[in-house]
């Protein structure tokens, strides 16, 4: 039942994506302006006490927007984000109590938050780290920060906290706050969210493997997102300090960390207004309903939080959200490059590649040289090491020893995203795409990362034209494979790696594949290394067939030569 509804929603989304795409930026802007005007008008409509409450809510809103940069955009969850907010609060409060300027306190606090965020992200987002580590680290720092705030009496005032003198003029500070928040969000929008960086963060969230093999540095992207998120949270904390009569350890504590998660979850991730309105409404509601509901208020919020995780993962704003998720960052036509040419004799070469998993040698001394624009088909029985070799080329795994050379440059130590820039592109056995994005958005991301727009071969251009506005979930398998190849071609690769491009295709699609790929090679001029099981396709496609067995190349040559080779027959059939 739920599945069915989702399918329908997907289909509806696909149908809607086209016409609304153009209007989305404007409608979003209109909503934001309406919110801004409404917020600016508040002092004329409600009592001074309520203005203070809404002012606090707005700074909480900025805090929530900050968390959303990490969680909603990039998919890094922090369950201790109050520590960054609390740094800002304490920075200002300590500066005021010691008669320094609050701006100085805020700046120092933001700098500390940036450093702490950087350390947390570097440790927690490392490629080999368990995903649970980030949760544990953020939890640990917020618990620790609360303890420090309680115990470091001389600086933080301990449990009773620091006293912040009341504002001389509530209204002036309210408008100042509002203006500061609007400026920060505008800056975020024009430097991150509506720019290639924002698209990269979204790509990392949706499919980090694909993002990396499009040339996006995923580790760096995550670290940047988390540090930004920490800085925005600290800034929000600094702005909020004057709204509090006393600054107590609660401001860095786990309860506030939890609340901000609730605001973002219920308001709506991955939007600006969602977290903002979530924070303002729930802060206001907490005050208004505290006398009647008491502890029940937080209990209800907790239940709503669970329900939103289970049923509406995109929150309330997500229900209204339509259209594309990415900013249009298609590069101008000016930057189109010529064909990749280098003096090197080989497009790709490897020597003495060895790779073992837990003592089991999967690749055991592989030497291969691929000439420019040559099509190589890798064959071999299951477990021969074909996919592993492809992964060693693309950088998805690093080899234990041996060398890989791309157009004369050694790349065996190069991270995958840099190999893409150097002219290596790949597809996966199961097409690896960004769920929820349209065909156009996929190609735009690929072009954004390439930095130029090159014309696609006819059959791939037809795909873009015909299905451009459709979400990838609605495409057939063969179209999804074609889209992956089209994305790979956007970077104008010198070498294209294909992992079983015909697997699971219908007979007539598979039959056309060899012809399409040869035409592609002729037009683009890239070398192709293709793992394939279907021998008819191999015969039609390959310039040279390479047979792998037990991690070694046992035979290479034309299809006829290889199929006549006794070693190959023995490997496949066990014949003597």
């Amino acid at each position: 039942m739920a599945q069915e509804i989702r399918q329908q929603a997907l289909a509806a989304g696909a149908a809607n994506a086209g016409p609304r795409a153009a209007g989305r930026f404007n409608s979003g802007l209109v909503y934001c302006l309406v919110f801004l005007v409404a917020a600016a008008a508040c002092p004329f409509l409600v009592s001074e006490f309520k203005v203070g409450l809404i002012g606090l809510g707005l700074t909480y809103g900025l805090f929530a927007v900050g968390l959303d940069l990490a969680w909603g955009r990039t998919g890094i969850v922090s369950i201790g984000h109050a520590v960054f907010f609390g740094l800002g609060v304490y920075g200002v409060a300590i500066a005021i109590t010691r008669h320094h300027s609050p701006e100085l306190g805020a700046l120092i606090a933001i700098a500390v938050a940036a450093v702490l965020g950087l350390i947390t992200a570097v440790v927690g987002q490392h490629r080999a780290t368990n995903p649970s580590t980030m949760a544990v680290l953020t939890l640990a720092i917020t618990l620790l920060a609360e303890k420090i705030a309680r115990d470091w009496w001389s600086v933080t005032g301990g449990s009773s906290g620091l006293f912040v003198p009341p504002l001389a003029d509530t209204y002036t500070y309210y408008w100042f706050c509002l203006a500061a928040i609007a400026i920060i969000i505008a800056v975020l929008w024009f430097t991150v969210l509506n720019r290639p960086l924002g698209n990269r963060l979204t790509a990392i969230r949706l499919n980090d493997q694909r993002a990396e093999h499009l040339g996006i540095p995923i580790f760096r992207g995550r670290v940047i997102a988390f540090v930004l998120s920490a800085v925005v949270a600290a800034f929000a904390g600094a702005l909020s300090a004057p709204w509090m009569s006393s600054v107590s350890p609660d401001r860095v504590a786990i309860v506030l960390s939890t609340q901000v998660l609730v605001w973002v979850a219920i308001g709506g991730k991955n939007t600006i207004l969602g977290p903002m309105i979530g924070a303002v409404a729930l802060t206001y509601g907490q005050d208004a309903l505290a006398s009647t509901l008491g502890e029940f208020y937080l209990l209800i919020l907790g239940l709503l939080f669970i329900l939103s995780v289970l049923l509406v993962p995109d929150g309330i704003a997500g229900v209204f959200r339509r259209g594309p998720q990415l900013a249009d960052t298609t590069p101008g036509a000016a930057a189109a490059p010529g064909t990749r040419r280098s003096g090197a004799e080989d497009a790709l070469a490897c020597a003495e590649i060895v790779k073992s998993f837990a003592g089991n040698k999967v690749l055991n001394g592989v030497d291969l040289r691929v000439k420019p624009a040559e099509i190589i088909c890798l064959i071999g029985p299951n477990g021969a090491g074909k996919s592993t070799l492809l992964n060693v080329f693309s950088g998805a795994i690093t080899c234990d020893s041996g060398t890989v050379t791309l157009s004369g440059v050694r790349i065996e130590e190069t991270p995958p995203h840099n190999r893409v820039t150097a002219g290596l592109a790949r597809t996966f056995q199961v097409p690896s795409l960004f769920p929820g994005l349209s065909v156009n958005e996929h190609l735009m991301l690929a072009r954004q990362e390439a930095g130029f727009v090159v014309p696609l071969p006819a059959s791939y251009a037809a795909l873009e034209k015909e299905y451009g506005a459709q979400r990838v979930e609605t495409l057939s398998l063969s179209d999804r494979r074609s889209l992956e190849i089209a994305m790979a071609l956007c970077s104008r690769p010198a070498v294209l790696l294909l992992d079983e491009p015909a697997a699971g295709l219908a007979r007539n699609d598979a039959g056309k594949l060899a012809k399409t790929l040869r035409a592609l090679r002729d037009e683009v001029g890239c070398a192709i290394i293709c793992v394939e099981h279907d021998m008819e396709i191999v015969r039609d496609l390959a310039d040279r067939v390479v047979c792998l067995h037990h991690g070694r190349i046992i035979s290479e040559g034309s299809m006829d030569e290889v199929s006549a080779d006794m070693n190959v027959r023995q490997a496949y059939l066990g014949m003597a």
Partner: protein, 289 residues
């Protein structure tokens, strides 16, 4: 001399409680691949159960609490968690976080946030040389050690344990061989919940019982799990001892907050250097060399 024995006994006492929680966390992380951030709150549930049943004989209350833990685990797994397994890591993390909030708030509504306490069932002191130590703690230490020993034997020496480890290692393959993932998930979560609840119940007489008491156990327990290789069930137990040992050592020279700050710093550094944790298994270690 008696001072150092005191430190040693305290170290064993805190290690025992943490080891039980870390074992249950490791069990959930290994089998369900879920980071259960509600584990501390499950301890809190155990403590409040004992508080509500303080009129009953201690052993009976403990038994009822354990059964409540089993049922609560079953309810949470069937009612909430199974809907988020296919929604990815973050969704499961947030779902357990939400469960934690709800448990805390239910406790706050039922018992208010003011501190509660219960008396240990054994009030005597054991005399060791010049030192006296609460009998209750000694009994609990022995009890937890026996329980963990039995659990580890169950995991590593019985066919049920073998099925569990197979399922942890590769849930699809285990399913093909007739080990139902649904049943294993429900059973594991239920047992792990009951163990955390039991841990909370056992240390309740030494705690100030508040709705947020579990949070302070959560971070150390997770670090205990993270220093071991994921999926290992003995690892978190050894990890708990290692974490508490480091903490005890640091506390000998520093105040609690500083010691904790440095402990977290050291653990973060450890994770940065060994992101996969240490493999405690002697056999695997030998094969790799």
């Amino acid at each position: 001399m008696s001072g150092s024995i005191q430190v040693l006994l305290d170290f064993v006492w805190v290690s025992a409680g943490l080891a039980l929680v870390a074992f249950s966390l490791g069990l959930i992380l290994g089998e369900l691949k879920i980071v259960n951030v509600a584990q501390g709150d499950l301890m809190m549930v155990g403590a409040y159960c004992m508080y509500s049943m303080r009129a009953l004989p201690f052993a009976l209350a403990l038994l009822i609490t354990f059964i409540i833990g089993l049922l609560l685990g079953l309810l949470l797994e069937r009612g909430v968690l199974r809907w988020v397994y296919d929604k990815g890591f973050i969704a499961t993390l947030l779902a357990t976080w939400g469960i934690g909030i709800v448990l805390e708030q239910v406790a706050a509504v039922l018992f208010t946030v003011s501190q509660k306490g219960i008396d240990p069932p054994l009030s005597g002191q054991i005399v060791i040389g010049e030192l006296t130590y609460p009998t209750y703690r000694i009994v609990v230490i022995c009890g937890i050690a026996a329980l963990l020993g039995a659990l580890l034997l169950l995991v590593y020496r019985t066919s049920l344990g073998l099925r569990l480890r197979a399922s942890i290692d590769n849930v699809e393959m285990a399913a093909i061989m007739g080990i139902s993932p649904q049943r294993t998930f429900a059973m594991v979560f239920s047992v792990a919940t009951a163990l955390a609840v039991l841990a909370g119940a056992l240390i309740a007489p030494t705690l100030a019982i508040t709705p947020t008491l579990g949070l302070s156990f959560l971070a150390p327990a997770f670090f205990a799990v993270l220093v071991a290789k994921q999926g290992s069930l003995a690892g978190p137990v050894i990890g708990a001892v290692a974490v508490e040992f480091t903490f005890t050592m640091l506390q000998a020279y520093l105040n609690v907050t500083m010691a904790e700050a440095i402990l977290f710093g050291l653990l973060a550094l450890f994770i940065a250097i060994k992101p996969q944790g240490i493999s405690w298994s002697w056999k695997t270690a030998r094969r790799e060399t």
